[in-house]
Amino acid sequence: MSTNAQNLPRQFPIPVDPALPAHSGTPGTRIGPVSIRRPGYAVSPNASKVGLSDICLSYRTQSGERLLALDNINLQVRAGEFVCIVGPSGCGKSTLLHLIAGLHPQTSGQILVDGNPIQGPGTDRIMIFQEHALFPWLTVGQNVEFGMKMKGIPKAERQEKTRYYLRLVHLAKFEKSYIHQLSGGMRQRVAIARALATEPDVLLMDEPFAALDAQTRDLLHDELERIWSETGRTIIFVTHNVREAIRLGDRVVLLTFRPGRVKSEFPVELPRPRHLEDPTVARAARGNS
């Protein structure tokens, strides 16, 4: 896979991996079960996919004082955009993702998806956690199937999609394996497949590659960029690593530490695909952090 990525022309869109099987259906309209809703990574200029307005979150600590974790966060994420949120540990960036996922209510403010306020968790927004969020009692295939099973999608369709998404992350051979038999990088690829299989509009990624070694992380950066370009999802990606944010994002949002506020944001206009070790990426990271 690595050689493949290096031989790719340095331009977008990255061609669809020839190893991916052709899917039955009208050619050109669909690749597999995923509708391609945009070519390349052209972002629709106006449509706001996720809108955060005046988000505050405070909670009471053990000693009884009120702690402001997130202070007045405003953020608009366009459909198909890849936004990276960067901040030091404990700045509330993961918490912000939990709020968008609907796993936790905000103290005040509003979260809109396609203009509608969210009502708790929804499979239009799927989270990819840092680690250990795959279900160890299920096989790889059953993990990928899980969201579809909860939705009540018929078994045959589920299995077809499961195989498709496992091929997308190059893990087709591991459908019957258990999670503990996989390496850290493979587990995160399963997590990506599991998230994509529910066909969410928005992927919420919470430092998904932080626990991986550098080489595996680089590979997964390439794969995530490819998958993003092929599937057209909106991605909100949280990391503490500015370089990683610049490597991946269309736009980078910096948060401050306690309370979490938007310190600044800037677009990343470097050509894709980028590499973490590129001097341009490093320079951009130094200049903006």
Binding site: P121, T123, F135, P136, W137, F146, Y178, H180
Partner: protein, 253 residues
């Protein structure tokens, strides 16, 4: 091979000592039988079907009683684990109730249910319910929170969340409690059966006493131990092995 040899040596010595003590005739044979006499009693018991009947009756009761306490215990345990008020109030009560030997429920059961099958079942349920409840509560708390979050995130809620996520996620943490609950259920059953003409193993055991037949008493005791051991080996060891295969070495991973 080495293991088998160790077992062989241990049990040969044990039976050798037993035979020796019995053959020395320090005590009369009706108080201290030979292994041979116990073997004969076992054979006779199976031969006239009384042991088979007793095993069937006892197993039926313990399976029904244990199943009831597992279902009730899971509901109770989950309730206590997920509600702060219940945890603070009922949690303490449950722990203190566990210090009560299950047979203390026998008089109450007799008054409520009369001398019947249900009175025995009640004692069995009370014997194992608390360990299942406490295990479930503990397992629910020890279970990594992220599984519940991931499950809700993927669209599971209500009963589906419990059945497909919370229950399997907490299983490695509650399996030892389930096992303990089983052991308590088995003990409570035998105790209750000894107090009442019940056809079960407990009654057969008491019958040996009534007939002054020590060989039969020891034969039934061996039977009770063996059954408990077999169930533990087949059901619970199998479950642990199954979990181990799926989860890998440590449940936390």
């Amino acid at each position: 091979m080495k293991r088998a040899a160790r077992y062989l040596i241990f049990y040969s010595v044990l039976f050798g000592l037993w035979t020796l003590l019995a053959e020395l005739k320090i005590w009369p044979p009706y108080l201290f039988p030979t292994p041979w006499g116990v073997g004969q009693a076992l054979y006779a018991g199976f031969q006239d079907h009384s042991y088979w009947i007793a095993i069937r009756v006892s197993m039926q009761r313990v399976v029904v009683g244990y199943a009831i306490s597992v279902v009730l215990g899971m509901i109770l345990g989950l309730g206590v684990a997920s509600n702060k008020f219940l945890e603070e109030t009922m949690g303490g009560l449950l722990v203190s109730l566990q210090s009560l030997p299950s047979i203390c429920w026998w008089p109450l059961a007799l008054l409520w249910f009369g001398l019947s099958q249900n009175a025995i079942l009640f004692v069995v349920v009370m014997g194992s319910l608390l360990s299942v409840t406490l295990a479930m509560e503990d397992g629910r708390k020890q279970m990594p929170k992220i599984f519940g979050q991931a499950g809700r995130n993927l669209g599971a809620k209500g009963f589906k969340l419990f059945w497909y996520v919370l229950l399997p996620a907490s299983l490695p943490f509650i399996v030892s409690g389930l096992k303990q609950g089983w052991a308590f259920a088995w003990r409570s059953l035998i105790t209750a059966e000894m107090l009442y003409l019940s056809l079960g193993l407990g009654q057969v055991l008491m019958m040996g006493r009534d007939l002054n037949d020590m060989s039969a008493v020891i034969a039934v005791m061996i039977l009770i131990i063996a059954l408990g051991y077999i169930i533990d080996g087949i059901v619970f060891k199998g479950m642990e092995r199954h979990l181990h295969n799926k989860w890998g070495l440590t449940p936390a991973n």
